[in-house]
């Protein structure tokens, strides 16, 4: 089991299957809040839903509608269980806050180089701890 340490963005504890992407995610024009699916045509997760997943991604891109779209995902019940991202911007931080799911950033090691799709991840945002159980083991 691998442990990462990060800075609390939004508190709370949650665990679930990891969904990982190395591409920044767009809100408006990037996801469909009704299904939680990424819809940006050239995105590697295009068509995949982050509902109930532990979403691990570099950060946000695109328009200022970012927080609103992830806010709508919460209301539609399609939000991820928790989010882990590397680069803080007002878009992703506000999105995390209005999604009200545990969120961490500023990690001691880059989660994108450690966590893979399907790994089981436990996020304790209050204590800033991420515990990763590799899918294979």
């Amino acid at each position: 089991m691998i442990v990462l340490h990060g800075r609390k963005v939004v508190g709370g504890v949650s665990e679930g299957e990891a969904l990982v992407t190395r591409e920044t995610i767009s809100g408006w024009g990037g996801i469909d809040p009704r299904t939680g699916k990424v819809v940006e045509t050239r995105h590697e997760l295009c068509g995949v839903s982050f509902k109930d997943k532990i979403l691990v991604f570099p950060g946000a891109k695109g328009s200022s509608g970012w927080s609103q779209y992830f806010h709508l995902a919460r209301l539609a019940g399609t939000a991820p269980k928790a989010i882990l991202y590397n680069r803080t911007t007002t878009k992703v931080a506000l999105g995390a806050v209005v999604m009200r799911v545990p969120a961490l950033t500023d990690f001691d090691r880059d989660p994108l180089s450690i966590i893979e799709d399907g790994d089981w991840v436990r996020v304790d945002a209050d204590r800033g701890i991420v515990e990763i159980t590799k899918k294979s083991s």
Binding site: T24, S63, S64, A76, T90, A93, V98
Partner: protein, 425 residues
Amino acid sequence: MKLTDVEQGMLDGAEGAAVQKAMDLLIRYGEALGAERLVETNNVCGTFVAAGPMIREFASKGNDAIFSEFNLDSTEHVAMPPVKAYTCHLIMGIDSEHPEMRQVSEDAARVQTEGEKFFGAKGINMLSTCTPYQVGNVPVMGEHCAWMESSAVIYCNSVLGARTNTEGRESTGAASITGRIPYFGLHIPENRHATHLVDVRVSVDDMMDWGLLGYAIGEMVEEDIPVFRGLESQPSLIKLKHFGAAAASSGGVEMYHMPSVTPETRSEEGALGGSAPRASWIYGPQERRAAYEKLNSTASSADVDFIMLGCPHNSIEQVWQVARLLEGRRISPNTSLWVFTPRALKEVADRSGYTDVIKAAGGHVLSDTCPAISRIMPKGTRVVATDSAKQAHYLPAITGVQAWFGSVADCVEAAVAGRWTGGLR
């Protein structure tokens, strides 16, 4: 976060429930950012009037409910007080005065008009555009603002020298009734220095070229801050508007430096804050062509059926140019041409006679919204042509159409001929 006495009072409910909820959100948001304190702002540009199907479902609960949920992130519905800060509403869901747009959804038009009345009575100015600086909201250097709309944020920071991060529907809602926003990112002088150098090796002069430069830079620089070297021609508002919108859509650029044009510093060294750039890029003929190819990557059929002009919204100078290009000509029967300009400037276009010229040619002048936001285009649209890099970037992703990008002259020729003949000259 450290709060002043006034801020602590607002958090403790001294100014009512809504203000208390707003402060709660601002603190959660500030802590998520790692901000140390809040800063006062008297210039908020956000979105308040309900737009889009999902938010409109809330409309039955009333605008106080819409404000609480979507502008304060408060599940508990509280009454909205008059705003404290000078606050403007940016883009609308639809153009409520344009027949073709109204019949798509009478309900949307009704909800919008009611929302305008409700939020107007709270002191929110209905600018109804993505370009507040074209409708009188022109902050001056050093002013702390809380703006949404990425194309307006990059203009505010870079060309006007005022300070804003890319805010959201919730943070601008909270700022409107508290006059506060987290002191983070581009509000802090040290964060406004350039981090990357772009060496421009081709001439950049017309509107199309400024869009290509922006689109190429966004991908290179993402969220960082470029300073440009080698730009010779003197840009104007409309060229920097197009450049910034492109850079903010292909990447997340919120600020740039062009020492002879942007006010913050007079030199490359000053822009870089005395340190070396983290990376340098060249913008030459290949990068220019690559940007052009990407912007036209979804287009295959030359049979254009819809021309979209004006993203971000056209200035009156641009509406005049379209009228001049269309004067005495007819748009092909199987092609539609929509020109978007803020409602306030459509008044000037009407009065100057441009709207009549464009209508006589078979075109339409619209306001308030755009196809990418409203998802409304002429029925059966498959192939679009536009003079805007941002619209060419988003429209295919949002509506599945093909999109050609070129100059306004290319677009007008396509409207008249019904066929795209643009290209990279």
